[in-house]
């Protein structure tokens, strides 16, 4: 390759890509060699400093120059070469016969679904305009019919878009707009495939359902993080990490704005006097706005009006078994009275069931972590001015009522340490 050619290569590439974009808009023919003729026309123009694209750079020199300027080339060199030599045809225009036929079929189906949606909307508006006395069952029948029609409309909306490959791609890339029903549906399906199953398992294995609530079906995804520490459901968290309030990411899958209440409860507070375990609330905040698009709830940044009980760092005294710290997200009824901070100031013996019963909220999301005594617990308790860091819980020695029997038979014969491995 001569020097002049080398110098003009980036420029020519630039032109070629421009041209290919124009070409792809018009037709699919990519193999023509005649269209390159205008490249030669600019050969004798002045060469400039080459600009490397991280998507298409293939030469080692170019890669080095890019990396020097702090940009890493994207993908493998093979991939970059493939991208460079191909025209940037948009995905839906890729010239594959079967693919295009399939797209035609899917589009036809979508048109049908859109027509159905239009008729269903019309039917709903007609039903709304009708007087409830014309129904046999009155208002109740009208409401039932309307709700079932709305459900059918939602189903149609999802069915219209569920076969679109670009929607699938956008959802997989995490670029889905949660205001649209199809993305909410896909997100819900994905959540139910794995994450919800884990949450449900934790609810079962940690006895959340009889201990905290009589029954509970999670419908919203709740992720928990202390600063940059993501918490897997049920994980043991160091007391120094959980000293500051966590950040919640709550994804709801039904549309609309709503207000939620976040409650954090310790379900295993030892009560030595009564010889049992009690509960204690560690955090309560109400009237937190939540929608499918705005999902983050940093508990340390709730306002004073929202706060009912500030964050009390979870702690477990020495010798007590692990404490389950349950984070519940409760959805408030629209227009319900505000939760009074004075009324719910008591932390000990906080019962979620009675709280829900009195405030008429519905639990939608759940996550949990565990706390045990560790090296930092004493310091955390001191900083939060909680007493009792020096207390150590010990099991009460239960004296057997029957005197111990002398070993007889096989046990007596194998009493020596020689048979230690045989003993249970």
């Amino acid at each position: 390759m001569s020097t002049s050619q080398k110098a003009v290569r980036p420029l020519a590439r630039c032109l070629r890509s421009l041209q290919s974009q124009r070409q792809s808009a018009n037709n699919f023919r990519t193999l023509s060699s005649s269209a390159r003729c205008n490249v030669e026309a600019v050969v004798d123009s002045t060469p400039e400093k080459p600009i490397f694209d991280p998507e298409t750079v293939t030469s080692i020199k170019g890669e080095k120059a890019l990396m020097k300027s702090g940009i890493l080339p994207i993908g493998s060199r093979r991939r970059r070469a493939a991208i460079k030599s191909s025209d940037n045809i948009p995905f839906e225009q890729l010239p594959y016969l079967c693919f295009q036929e399939a797209r035609k079929v899917l589009q036809e189906d979508r048109e049908e679904k859109l027509k159905l949606i239009a008729t269903e909307r019309l039917r709903i508006s007609n039903m709304l305009a009708r007087d409830p006395s014309t129904f046999k069952g009155g208002v109740l029948e009208k409401e039932t019919k309307l709700s079932s029609m709305r459900r059918y409309l939602e189903w149609l909306k999802i069915q219209a878009d569920i076969n679109d490959p670009l929607i699938k791609k956008r959802f997989e890339d995490g670029e889905g707009d949660m205001n649209k029903p199809i993305y909410r549906y896909l997100a819900d399906r994905k959540w139910r495939e794995y994450q919800r199953k884990i949450i449900v398992q934790r609810i079962e294995q940690f006895g959340i359902v009889p201990d905290f609530l009589p029954h509970f079906e999670p419908t919203a995804e709740v992720q928990l993080a202390f600063k940059n520490r993501n918490v897997q459901p049920g994980e043991y968290i160091d007391s120094r990490v959980s000293e500051v309030a966590p950040r919640l990411k709550v994804q709801v899958f039904n549309k609309g704005e709503r207000l939620v209440t976040v409650v954090v409860i310790d379900g295993d507070v030892p009560d030595a006097e009564k010889d049992r375990f009690g509960t204690r609330s560690h955090f309560i905040a109400t009237d937190i706005p939540l929608s499918p698009t705005d999902t983050s709830i940093p508990l340390s940044k709730v306002t004073k009006e929202q706060l009912v009980q500030p964050w009390l760092p979870p702690f477990a005294q020495k010798g007590s078994p692990y404490h389950r710290l349950a984070v519940f997200v409760l959805e408030q009824q629209p227009g319900q009275p505000k939760v009074e901070a004075e009324k719910w100031a008591e932390r000990d013996n906080f019962f979620l069931k009675s709280f829900i019963g009195k405030t008429r909220m519905t639990p939608i999301g759940f996550n949990m972590f565990r706390a045990t005594w560790d090296d930092g617990t004493a310091g955390v308790m001191e900083r939060a001015s909680i007493e009792g860091a020096d207390i150590e819980f010990k099991r009460k020695k239960v004296v057997a009522l029957k005197p111990k029997q002398k070993a007889r038979g096989w046990e007596a014969r194998h009493a020596s340490d020689k048979y230690k491995s045989l003993r249970r």
Binding site: Y96, F99, D109
Partner: protein, 195 residues
């Protein structure tokens, strides 16, 4: 283990023929798969009790079978060795992998195919139902029809419901051609029969 060895005795000639057919015949030693087996973490075994230790000849179930390896340890299931051997052999074609866009195109075509198939099925069902309904309504029409003259009502309906000639004109159902028995006759066909 007895079942394993019986399976092995059953399969070994088959396998030997397959090996000689498909792969370059390895005369006595275990083929080159050992290094590949050591490095790979793909576990196709469904039985959890067999721990696969990547020593030499670890996957040589095709050759060694259920005989205990010289180093000791539990005998491996020969089936696992066989599966590993053939799945991870260099001559086994690699699994089909699609690029992102290709997978998406594949998915699009798949969805369109499923949709088209379902639509066709539903259309066929609808057509059948329509035909049945139209037949039914025609019969209903006949039943309610007044007969001319002294003939009684619904005469045409009764005539339409007659099952004459459904086995051909003057025919009988094939079931009546021979006495129905539980087992076929001793003589399957009488070739010498004449009227």
């Amino acid at each position: 283990m007895a079942s394993h060895s019986s399976i092995r005795t059953m399969m070994s000639p088959l396998l030997a023929s397959f090996r000689s057919l498909a792969l370059t015949p390895a005369s006595s030693n275990v083929p080159r798969t050992t290094s590949l087996l050591n490095s790979s973490t793909r576990a196709f075994s469904a039985s959890p009790n067999v721990s696969f230790r990547g020593g030499p000849g670890g996957g040589g179930g095709a050759k060694k079978g259920n005989s205990k390896s010289k180093k000791g340890g539990p005998a491996k299931d020969p089936r696992i060795g066989l599966i590993r051997y053939y799945l991870q052999h260099p001559q086994t074609p690699r699994p089909l992998r699609f690029s992102r866009t290709r997978a998406l195109r594949h998915w699009t075509i798949h969805r369109a195919w499923m949709l088209a198939r379902r639509k066709k099925l539903e259309a066929e069902e609808r057509e059948l139902y329509r035909m049945y309904q139209s037949m039914h309504s025609a019969c209903e029409e006949l039943r309610l029809l007044d007969a001319p003259g002294t003939k009684d009502e619904g005469r045409l309906y009764r005539i339409a419901m007659e099952k004459k000639g459904i086995f051909g004109h003057g025919g009988v159902p094939i079931e009546y051609a021979r006495m129905q028995t539980d087992t076929p006759g001793a003589e399957a066909w009488n070739h010498g029969w004449t009227r």
